[in-house]
């Protein structure tokens, strides 16, 4: 019963100073609001990156050809041309968990149809590419293994390319001149949007890698080999099998470096989400600082309040309040301020992140967990920053407190 009357006493004290109570709570409102909004935006960004990673395909391993040194000049990754078509076929044949392989020959080219022309990326791939990337066609048909064998002049184009070159016309069956070589457009891909790097993935022409080698890029080597395995648990063993297979095929002696790199999609994802994680962490930390500042505001006001109410504390003690009653009263005042501020801050944070994502088109993701955490944290801020002033009040000597001017 003593506790309930202490709560009563604390609320009476807060009501006596409405404006001050409101301003003190405002510090926490802003702090918690900032945490909720910033963490929401941070995790929204992270979710977006993760969705983009997933659009790269499931359980994918990318093998890139290595760099080479000629006359002391080192080329970058992919410059060595160490990956051969036979390497890809060996992987297809000898690594059991592999369900799809796409030989990749990337290049860029000027393309034209009718009186329109356009500069775009041209990707030489195998038919497995569309399964590996989980990239179905919107209309038409993909090229076939037969097209690859014969290096046929067929291609599939992305949505952006289709609009730029053919406008509103249906591109399927039409002729597209790539480096002045006429190709037949067999299909149009579904839109995929921006990649993690921000390039437009739909601004692309995909054709058999054999055709790309012969007609567009030149050369006989592969830049990358995209490999898909059946399960995520197959990724590690498949990577090891591919590495030893390629070292053997490339006659690399033990102790020498690989002339290729093997990365799985998980590593790519980790690298990409690491940035988002840092972003989210940074935003949260900055918002956290404002919450701590809000807490210091509470401590400041409570200290002022203890000094200002020294006589009141003396009077309460004279009529029988224990030190503990005074401590509880001031703690309840601090915690009420911080938790009411926390509740309002949660509302403010949700509203702010909704407004931000509406105006700036930033995705935001507010989880119930982060709301509960923010509320508990704000209450904890009240206890932490309220404790010192409350203890100071409780330790006052009643005689001196009564005489305080």
């Amino acid at each position: 019963m003593r506790v309930t009357s202490t709560i009563n006493v604390a609320f009476r004290a807060l009501r006596r100073n409405k404006l001050r109570s409101a301003l003190t709570a405002l510090g926490i409102i802003i702090g918690v609001g900032a945490v909720i909004a910033m963490v929401g935006i941070g995790s929204g960004a992270k979710a977006q990156v993760e969705a983009q990673i997933a659009s790269l395909g499931q359980n994918v391993i990318v093998i890139s050809s290595g760099s080479t040194t000629s006359s002391g000049i080192r080329t970058g990754w992919g410059g060595a041309g160490t990956l051969k078509i036979e390497d890809a076929e060996a992987i297809r044949r000898e690594v059991p968990s592999v369900i799809g392989v796409s030989e990749e020959v990337p290049s860029t080219a000027q393309i034209a149809a009718g009186n329109q022309n356009w500069f775009t990326r041209v990707m030489g791939e195998s038919p497995d590419y569309f399964d590996i990337r989980q990239w179905p066609l919107a209309e038409g048909a993909p090229f076939t293994a037969q097209d690859v064998r014969s290096a046929n002049k067929v291609c599939v184009i992305g949505q952006t390319t289709a609009t730029q070159v053919f406008g509103n016309d249906d591109p399927v069956g039409q002729t597209l001149r790539i480096k002045n070589v006429p190709f037949i457009v067999s299909g149009v891909l579904t839109p995929k949007g921006l990649s993690i790097q921000g390039t437009d993935q739909d601004d692309v022409v995909v054709m058999p890698y054999s055709s790309a080698m012969k007609r567009v890029a030149g050369g006989t080597t592969l830049r990358n080999i995209n490999v898909q395995v059946a399960n995520a648990s197959d990724l590690e063993p498949a990577e090891q099998q591919i590495t030893s297979l390629l070292r053997q095929r490339h006659n690399i002696r033990a102790g020498r470096d690989d002339d290729f790199t093997v990365r799985n999609q998980q590593e790519i994802a980790e690298a990409a989400t690491a940035t988002a994680d840092v972003m989210a962490g940074l935003l949260g930390a900055i918002a956290g600082v404002s919450l701590v500042v809000g807490g210091i505001g509470i401590m400041n006001i409570m200290l002022v309040s203890v000094t200002e109410r020294t006589r009141e504390i003396g009077t309460r003690m004279a009529v029988g309040a224990h030190g503990r009653d005074i401590l509880t009263q001031f703690l309840i005042e601090a915690v009420s301020l911080s938790s009411v501020g926390g509740l309002l801050g949660i509302i403010l944070g949700i509203v702010a992140s909704k407004i931000l994502s509406a105006i700036k088109h930033w995705p935001s993701l507010i989880s119930p967990g982060s709301i509960v955490l923010a509320f508990l944290f704000s209450a904890a801020v009240g206890i932490f920053f309220g404790f010192y002033p409350a203890r100071k009040a409780a330790a006052l000597d009643p005689i001196e407190a009564l005489r305080y001017e």
Binding site: R16, G320, H322
Partner: protein
């Protein structure tokens, strides 16, 4: 009305350490106060009367000697036990009223009961506070804040607060120090009325004309009792107020 000793001090000392210097504020006071007495503690500043008041009020403990309040030895109680004694057996009236600002008279009067061992319901609190306020002539002012009340009315609220727990002793520290002479007489009138009803009052004052409203005066000097006597020509506040208003009528 002398039905027992309510306050008994036996050779009480109080020594303060201010830095390196020992200050002997009270140097061996023995004093007995019977139930129903109205005692004025007098003395110049530095005589030890405030220190003695703090000891009587259980706000402080004696360095040496014994203090029996209502036959209980309270000389060696700890902070919380002293707080319970103050809450249950003592009522305080201060020179500067010490009311909570921006708080209604009723809530001010309820204050000691909020810390009482046996909590009352809000309804009981309110009923009791209103009854006591009425008994000191503040009926209809229950909702007023201290700033809306005159000095005399504020002191009445403080007296009501001191009475709400039915104390054994009402302790008043210069209760008229901040009041004009007419209001002082009014407050003394209330004290005399309360004393007629059997309430024991101990009042610190340095004004001998205020002390003349008490039944007994104890004069302190240098931490010792200099003089202890029954008031011979006791003033009567009710008569004086009647005469004053007669004067106004003329």
């Amino acid at each position: 009305m002398n039905n027992g000793t309510v306050v008994k001090l036996i050779d009480v000392h109080k020594t303060y350490l201010t830095g390196e210097v020992e200050v002997q504020a009270v140097r061996g006071v023995s004093l007995e106060i019977q139930r129903g007495e109205f005692v004025a503690l007098m003395g110049a500043s530095g005589s030890g009367k405030s220190t003695l008041m703090n000891l009587l009020g259980c706000l402080d403990r004696p360095t040496r000697g014994q203090y029996l309040l209502d036959n209980t030895d309270v000389s060696h109680l700890n902070r919380d036990q002293l707080a319970d004694i103050r809450n249950g057996k003592l009522g305080f009236v201060f020179q500067s009223f010490n009311l909570l600002p921006r708080t209604s008279a009723r809530e001010n009067v309820e204050l000691p009961l909020l810390y009482a061992r046996h909590a009352l319901s809000n309804h009981q609190l309110r009923e009791r506070a209103d009854r006591i306020l009425a008994s000191v002539g503040l009926q209809g002012r229950e909702e007023h804040h201290p700033s809306q009340l005159s000095g005399g009315q504020q002191q009445r609220v403080a007296i009501a607060r001191a009475l709400i727990n039915d104390p054994e002793v009402l302790l008043a520290d210069e209760p008229t120090g901040n009041l004009d002479s007419r209001t002082s007489i009014e407050i003394m009138g209330i004290f005399q009325q309360l004393n007629e009803r059997g309430i024991t009052i101990v009042m610190v004052t340095h004004e001998s004309d205020i002390a003349a409203y008490a039944r007994r005066n104890v004069v302190l000097r240098d931490g010792l009792v200099l003089n202890d006597f029954a008031v011979a020509e006791r003033r009567n506040a009710a008569d004086e107020l009647g005469r004053r208003s007669d004067g106004v009528m003329d």
